[in-house]
């Protein structure tokens, strides 16, 4: 996963914009407990997706 060939979605984040991905990656960098937090976040996102009606997906 190198990002090459993808659309340039996030190359210019605003100043004082922490960046969503930059926030999440900090959990992973924070060690085992952090990985657990990131896993929980992704798990909740997954569960939330299945709970929603398919038409909510946009």
């Amino acid at each position: 996963m190198t990002g090459e060939g993808r659309e340039l979605a996030v190359t210019h984040l605003a100043y004082l914009d922490a960046g969503s991905g930059s926030l999440i990656v900090q959990a992973v960098v924070g060690g085992v407990a952090g990985v657990a937090v990131a896993a929980k976040l992704y798990w909740r996102r997954l569960v939330a997706r299945f709970r929603r009606q398919p038409t909510d997906q946009g």
Binding site: S20, V29, G31
Partner: protein, 471 residues
């Protein structure tokens, strides 16, 4: 007494956080704060950790003005201690950037432990008092909100960590990257540089590849939604501190030393005799002493020998040298001595830092910042005039332009017969520099100032001049 409303000048490099702005008035550096920033400041001013950082000199001296001036549109105004010379990260050596990163992390660690954080994580938050870094962005502190990661992490990566990784792991000088991009190197670019086996180097997999991938995958998610999700998933202040500890550990590991270069051995291999050097040291010492305290600019500082002599008399010395490895060695030596008045900087005199950022003034050009009471140009004129083909009158114009009116240029003319000049001339077509002669040089000097001292070095092929500019 009402303050006069004249002479107020906004700092062009301070507009990105609308909540506070640095401005200058009557030689003072002031910072205006809006209501919210004023509340943050008062909480900060009452905290122990901030008092400790101030006492240790890790944060620049700051006081609130009472009463608050009424002629500015701010809820509170702070006065900052002046930094002797404003420099930009692309003018620092590797060791300087690394120490700036470590200071930033230490300031953040202390803040987090006390319930505060910093809004950003930029290398531009750091300046220098001699060889000691100081955190200047007092407006960056705010109360930490539980369950939120550091908002400045992305900037820290782009302007501090990634340039360190580029140099430590790839051996590329980081300065051109930062000079070209005011916001630093983006994760997407770093991923291209660190493909293949390079992804396994220290810090790369997480801070570069995972970071970049996470940015791509979460491009559509707002930071407020992600903050809420992280909070709900149990992100804690302890985790934020663990992240900072991890970053400190990584930056400490990146103890790269730029390799030997042509210039790093210059003092030992160059053509000076002991007598020449002594005569030169004496001349510089006397010239700077007669000018009294102030700023000295040492152009082509090499190992800092003459910068140190100048520092006997000057308030501060800016020692400019183009070779990053030489500057790094000088920085480490000065840092270990605890030197606070000599600031070493990396810059090519034939390609000085231009203005950068918004309208080209957000980061001031070197020429805008560098006016000095004494300019030392020792063994550099021949490198510019012969080595870089800069017309001799223009070299002297530039030296004069860097000197305040009434200040001195101390300049060494290396005669065309000198071995070093001959070596340079040997690489150029014959007869290319007919005006590179001592008489021509002296008449150019006379047109730009008054020669108040002159000495020929014992070797007989070099002459030193002290010229009072506009005098």
């Amino acid at each position: 007494m009402a303050l006069p409303d004249t002479g107020l000048r906004d700092e062009p490099g301070s507009f990105r956080d609308p909540g506070n702005r640095v401005f200058h008035r009557a030689g003072e550096v002031l910072r205006g704060l809006d209501e919210r920033s004023a509340r943050d400041w008062r909480a900060l001013a009452a905290s122990d950790f901030f008092r400790d950082l101030l006492a240790n000199g890790q944060v620049c001296g700051t006081q609130e003005l009472f009463p608050t001036p009424v002629d500015v549109p701010w809820a509170a105004v702070l006065r900052h201690e002046r930094v002797p010379f404003v420099s930009h990260p692309y003018e620092w050596s590797y060791g300087m950037l690394r120490d700036a990163a470590l200071l930033h992390l230490e300031v953040l660690r202390a803040a987090l432990a006390a319930g505060f954080t910093t809004k950003d994580g930029s290398a531009y938050n750091v300046q220098w008092r001699g060889a000691r870094p100081v955190f200047i962005d007092v407006g960056s502190f705010e109360a930490a909100r539980d369950g939120e990661p550091w908002a400045g992490y992305r900037q820290f990566c782009q302007t501090l960590l990634y340039p360190l990784l580029v140099q430590a792991h790839l051996g590329l000088d980081f300065q051109p990257f930062l000079r070209a991009r005011i916001d630093g190197i983006e994760p997407d670019q770093m991923r291209r540089l660190f493909g293949g086996a390079r992804r396994w180097r220290a810090g790369v997999l997480t801070h570069v590849h995972l970071h970049g991938a996470m940015q791509d995958r979460n491009a559509e998610a707002s930071t407020s939604a992600v903050r809420a999700q992280l909070r709900a998933a149990g992100y804690s202040r302890e985790l934020a501190l663990a992240t900072v500890r991890g970053l400190v550990k990584l930056v400490r590991r990146l103890d790269h030393r730029p390799g030997e270069s042509h210039w790093s051995d210059y003092q030992r291999t160059c053509a000076y005799s002991v007598q020449d050097r002594q005569a030169k040291e004496h001349f510089v010492d006397r010239a700077v002493a007669t000018m009294g305290p102030g700023r000295v600019l040492d152009l082509g500082a090499n190992d800092g020998r003459y910068a140190r002599i100048a520092a006997r008399h000057a308030d501060h010395v800016v020692a400019v040298e183009q070779d990053p490895a030489v500057v790094d060695a000088l920085y480490r030596a000065l840092r270990d001595e605890g030197e606070r008045r000599i600031l070493p900087l990396v810059m090519d005199l034939a390609d000085p830092s231009p203005g950068g950022g918004w309208r080209g003034v957000e980061r001031a050009a070197f020429a805008e910042r560098a006016q000095a009471d004494v300019v030392l140009a020792l063994a550099v004129v021949h490198h510019l005039a012969i080595g870089r083909n800069v017309p001799l009158p223009e070299v002297l114009d530039q030296l004069a332009a860097l000197t305040v009116t009434g200040g001195s240029v101390v300049v060494e003319f290396v005669h065309p017969e000198d071995p070093m000049a001959r070596r340079l001339l040997a690489n150029k077509p014959d007869g290319l520099f007919p005006d590179y002669r001592r008489e021509a040089f002296e008449s150019l000097l006379a047109a730009r100032g008054r020669v108040v001292a002159r000495t020929e070095l014992p070797s007989g092929t070099r002459t030193l001049y002290q010229v009072v500019v506009g005098g």
